[in-house]
Amino acid sequence: MGAVHLTTEQVDVAVVGGGPSGLAAATALCKADVGKVVVLEREAEPGGIPRHAKHQGFGLRDLRRALSGPRYAARWAEIATGAGADLRTETQATGWTDAGALELTSPRGRSLLEARAVVLATGCRERPRAARLVPGARPQGVLTTGALQQLVYLAREFPGRRAVVVGAEHVSFSALLTLSHGGARTVAMVTEHPRHQTLAAFRAGAAFHFRAPLFTRTMLTGIRGSQRVEEVELTHLDTGQVRRVACDLVVFTADWVPDHELAVLAGAVLDPGTRGPTVDAALRTTRPGLFAAGNLLHGAETADVAALSGRSVAESVIRYFEGEPWPTSRVPIECEAPLHWIAPNAIVALGPPSHPRFRLRAREILGSRQVEVSQDGRTLWRGRVKRLMPGRSARLPGGWTAAVDSDGGPVVVHVVV
């Protein structure tokens, strides 16, 4: 295999992933004139996940307007291309050479791409049924929101009439909209938590428009059906009561996992909480010259938040090109249960004197709690954090980062009991 000589191209920045964060990063880099910026998008159409989320509400925080998913995706592609980014669709980065070049496959051939900086913006995906180890039969009619939306919006197929939706986060309500567009009734929405984790308005709208009953503190514990799904088994976590619900479709929503393969293959260290690469406030991974942005960093934020992360990583790449040294040591930030993850999740001694804001998620719905940040037993910050829950990020202020001892142990974030 190694005997074949591949053409090698040299660019300044390679952005892997042409979704909101990658396109926003490329746009900002082009505007700053950093040189040649290439965006590698493996799909035939750029824009990422919003392409097949046909409802409204995209672009509020980054483009300052409300667009449908497909229009939002197309808009970002236009902006990036207009700014001068070389947007290459049907191009997949499949790995790295030992020398650090990206290996690419496209209809134009197999080639290598060397870049002074690489921004990974590969996004995330929903854990499918198998990854959640949901037992039972394996009939047709079990899918993720991603597959459902492609089926309904791209292929115009209506995969079922009676759906059970697993999850009650933003994306779960997006699935509800798609099911409604596809002509299916949602007969149950199931969450392990005591309440939903989306905006109250979404939930109220869903209850009103789709009459979807929400089963809280409930787990999907079995699927039955020979050819098609026939029913699911729902178990109440507190009472143990089992309920059977007839349906022909099961949609697994949320439970995001970053698409971290290229980061791992590059040798970047993963954060045990986010399962994305660990990054400092400048979105630098542990591998020099390798940055990460958007939903690769952690389970999904909305598209506009991902795009803002893309803008932010561009600033870091620019400073890197201006000679800012790559940090040689970092202090990890760890979360104690019931907190799930924090991002960014590393502190470096060098770097911008910025006061980053951290995103914090909990494994359970905790609401407003006293949170403490400490290092080696020394309190760095203590205060109240609102809306601690899964599926939506709480904000943790970052004024304490200057007090971190760069030779000390890990920084620990925990809920004060």
């Binding site: 295999m1 074949v4 591949l6 493996r42 799909e43 049907e90 997949q92 499949t94 290996e103 496959t105 496209s106 209809p107 134009r108 051939g109 197999r110 995906r125 929903e126 854990r127 499918p128 049924r129 198998a130 990854a131 180890l133 037992p135 039972g136 039969a137 394996r138 009939p139 047709q140 899918l143 993720t144 991603g146 597959a147 492609q150 089926l151 791209l154 292929a155 197929e157 209506f158 995969p159 514990t221 079995g222 039955r224 020979s226 098609r228 996992v257 393969e261 791992v264």
Partner: protein, 471 residues
């Protein structure tokens, strides 16, 4: 009544065994039917196994199984090389985790010797951990079985069927045999699609081989489906082990193994539970929890990786420890049933065995002068050069540069080739076994619809239809 025979031989069941017999008989000037009740070849008990190329080191000595697995090993290894079946020479380590297991190792080595396999070697604790540093703590010793390898579980049956079809065998899919009636000098078979007459009937019906055996007027055995659940871990776990890690078998089960796959994953399993129904491929909470507990002990880090898929296979277990394989010259009936997971390795040897049996029973076997047509199967293995990584291939045809299934790096060119192959897929599951599409970590989150669209386009179906038929 004098019957006109449609076929010299009708083989019932197109799994590994039936397809291998069909391929073997395709060398001769015979009219052969390969009749499959399912939608595809290899879609029954053949499709979910641990994909180990067995040396027969642990087979029950003196059985037909021991002999045919050993012979099949040699045949399949050579054939894999000839037609491009993914195979990786990993070797296996059989690990003892306590004193009782440690004491049993010499007997296992001795049995291997009785089976004609003399390369089993004792491995001390230090050497074991040097070879597999990520094994869990507490291993007491091991046996090395250097020739126990991993092979693609899907390509062998497809290669057999492809070669058979190209040589003129009549592959009849989605046709269930409902009646098997003895007539003068042969058999009349009624099926879900009509009737046919054949001089010989070969029962290779896997899980249903006892039923076909009864249809043919016999009652020697009963198949009790034995469920085996398997957990497939993400490719990023692949560096954790280099060998097949085997447990010390007990009286009742071969136990849970950890093995790399030729697709670059790690597989953990199987469970072994007798079930009542032959279509009960449900996974269970208890089974998955048991596997995870075993995995945690064998390679603790494995559990930190994402799970890509859960497969459930049903093995065709019978009351007998050996294959139900015999040739009845008087009745012109061959039974090749009750064959469990070793059938993947032994299938070609079973083909030879049946061929010799038919020859001895007086069926005229005249070799076709042209021999079997050469076939080359798609490069699905991680150890092979796959189209997406092959610059010459993409240059010749840019469709091999269009990756559709991103997780498994399957290209449009490969989907097209599969759809136009001599034994084309009729559903997404069939396309998966031929190309690896939808086998990866996203399980269709990104590409499910595009893959369906491409197959629909090639096979003249609607996306919705395919979606309905997918499993």
């Amino acid at each position: 009544m004098h019957l006109v025979f449609d076929y010299d031989v009708a083989i019932v069941g197109a799994g590994n065994v039936g397809a291998a017999i069909a391929r073997e008989l395709a060398r001769f000037e015979l009219k052969v039917a390969l009749i499959e009740a399912g939608r595809d070849v290899g879609a029954g008990t053949s499709k979910a196994n641990t994909a180990i190329l067995h040396t027969a080191y642990d087979a029950k000595s003196g059985t037909l199984e021991a002999r045919l697995v050993a012979r099949g090993y040699a045949l399949l290894t050579a054939y894999a090389n000839e037609v491009g079946i993914p195979l990786e020479r990993t070797g296996a380590l059989l690990v003892a985790w306590d004193d009782i297991e440690l004491e049993r190792l010499p007997a296992i080595a001795e049995r291997a010797g009785q089976n004609g396999y003399d390369r089993v070697r004792s491995v001390g604790v230090d050497e074991l951990y040097a070879k597999e540093p990520r094994l869990g703590p507490g291993a007491r010793g091991a046996l090395e079985i250097p020739d126990e390898h991993i092979v693609c579980p899907f390509t062998p049956v497809l290669a057999f069927a492809t070669q058979a079809v190209l040589a003129g065998v009549d592959l009849r899919r989605e046709e269930r045999v409902t009646r098997v009636q003895r007539v003068e000098e042969g058999w009349r078979l009624e099926t879900s699609l009509g009737a046919l007459a054949a001089r010989w009937v070969v029962n290779a019906a896997g899980l249903h081989s006892d039923e076909v055996n009864r249809l043919a007027g016999h009652d020697e055995f009963t198949v009790t489906p034995r469920r085996g659940e398997l957990i497939v871990f993400d490719k990023l776990s692949r560096p954790l082990v280099d060998h097949v890690i085997l447990p010390v078998p007990t009286e009742t089960t071969k136990g849970v193994l950890v093995a790399p796959t030729v697709f670059g994953n790690i597989v953990l399993g199987p469970t072994a539970v007798d079930v009542e129904r032959k279509d009960d491929t449900s996974s269970t909470a208890e089974g998955l929890a048991y596997l995870r507990a075993q995995g945690k002990r064998i390679v603790p880090q494995l559990l930190t990786h994402e799970v890509t898929a859960v497969y459930v296979g049903l093995r065709a277990a019978t009351e007998s420890p050996d294959y139900q394989l015999w040739i009845d010259a008087g009745e012109q009936y061959v039974c090749a049933g009750g064959i469990r997971s070793t059938g993947l390795t032994s299938a070609m040897a079973i083909g030879e065995y049946v061929r010799d049996g038919l020859d001895a029973a007086g069926l005229a076997l005249r070799e076709r002068p042209e021999g079997l047509p050469a076939v080359r199967m798609p490069s699905l293995g991680e150890a092979q050069l796959r189209p997406f990584a092959d610059p010459a291939r993409i240059k010749a045809d840019s469709e091999y540069g269009r990756v559709v299934c991103f997780c498994e790096r399957v290209t449009r060119g490969e989907i097209r080739d599969a759809a136009r192959s001599p034994v084309p897929p009729v559903d997404l599951d069939g396309l998966r076994r031929r190309t690896r599409v939808l086998m990866g970590r996203c399980q269709g989150f990104f590409c499910g619809v595009e893959v369906s669209r491409l197959l629909a386009q090639e096979s003249g179906q609607h996306v919705g239809e395919l979606w309905e038929r997918s499993t």
